[in-house]
């Protein structure tokens, strides 16, 4: 069989989402941001919520997310995306509002905003990209940097006496009564991407059903900041990041309900 006989619209099984704009992304080759953008675009198309979705862009590499996903966006000051999302969601209760933040944005400068937005149980989805460093500014140490991990500001590795311990912010957020669905996923393999997509879909559905804040952490790579190849960074992440940040659901309930023991 010739390839031209196979490449026909009726045989199409996988294509770019219509919600994703037809431009080249500025991300480095192999960056996890692209995969998460793709998951969001596909789900916005699948759930048919393109005209009611409002994204809050962070400061970080994903600052240009508004160029790639064709929904309404609002840019927020560094770390303040949950505060902006609170205002947007309260004024537009019929809209689906999500924030898209990195670990420097969410876990460091924006830690107060995220804690209180989650504690209030705002009806927003928070996508948290955890790659263990400040990617955009040149790979400096972030709160989530692993112990002993070499970054440009910790050239001999993170020293816990000096710099403290890597912060499991998702576990802290799971303890807050305002959250409904808190999960940690990754996008380093095809199976993980499909699982992450299912989790984000559930999180979006929870927000649409007004169950409270949904929080999806995506353990990601930053191969440029880590000074690795894209596939090498994925392997390094699976070996080093995932034991400290284990994947799975941390909480699955409705806001205000007692936290189950599991």
């Amino acid at each position: 069989m010739e390839l031209k006989d196979l490449i026909k619209p009726e045989n199409l099984v996988y294509d770019k989402s219509k919600v994703q704009r037809d431009v080249y992304m500025h991300y480095c080759p192999g960056c996890s941001h692209g995969v998460v953008h793709k998951i969001l675009s596909e789900l916005i198309e699948e759930l048919d919520i393109q005209d009611k979705t409002i994204g809050i862009a962070p400061v970080g590499c994903a600052v240009f997310a508004y160029n790639y996903i064709d929904v309404d966006w609002q840019e927020a000051a560094h770390g303040r995306a949950p505060a902006v999302a609170t205002g947007v969601a309260r004024l537009n209760p019929e809209k689906f509002v999500f924030t898209y933040q990195g670990d420097g944005d969410l876990a460091s400068i924006g830690s107060a905003e995220i804690m209180h937005a989650c504690n209030r149980g705002e009806n927003i989805l928070v996508i948290f990209i955890n790659n263990g460093i400040y990617g955009m500014t040149g790979g400096q140490m972030a709160p989530t940097t692993l112990e002993g991990m070499v970054t440009s500001t910790t050239p001999s590795g993170r020293n816990t006496d000096l710099n403290g311990y890597p912060m499991k912010i998702t576990n802290l957020i799971a303890e807050l009564p305002g959250t409904s669905y808190v999960t940690r996923q990754a996008v380093h393999t095809a199976a993980a991407v499909r699982k992450c997509k299912r989790s984000v879909k559930k999180a979006i559905q929870n927000v649409l059903d007004k169950k409270g804040t949904s929080f999806v952490e995506v353990v990601s790579t930053c191969n440029s900041g880590w000074k690795m190849t894209p596939d090498g960074a994925n392997k390094w992440m699976a070996e080093n990041m995932l034991p400290y940040y284990p994947l799975g659901d941390l909480k699955d309930s409705i806001k205000g309900e007692p936290i189950s023991e599991n």
């Binding site: 390839l3 045989n11 996988y14 393999t189 596939d231």
Partner: protein
């Protein structure tokens, strides 16, 4: 058992040659081209098209969404 064949179409200019699709492919269909696209990246292409089963793993992991996949039974 019906045989399934697939085809991968890579948007050559969109590809950044990150090699993730090559790693994700269970049947060694894809590889990076020795030639580069206009942006200087070694873009991905079907090296062994006869092995493709259209599982879409390469498309799912592609961060730049430059892979389209076709599949049919024969």
């Amino acid at each position: 058992m019906a045989k399934v064949i697939g085809a991968v179409v890579v948007d050559k200019e969109g590809c950044k040659g990150c090699n993730l699709c090559v790693e994700a492919c269970p049947h060694d269909v894809l590889n990076l081209n020795k030639e580069v696209n206009s942006r200087g990246y070694h873009y991905s292409y079907m090296e062994n098209p006869e092995n493709c089963i259209g599982c879409a793993n390469c498309g799912v992991v592609c961060p730049d969404t430059c892979i389209t996949i076709y599949r049919m039974k024969i």
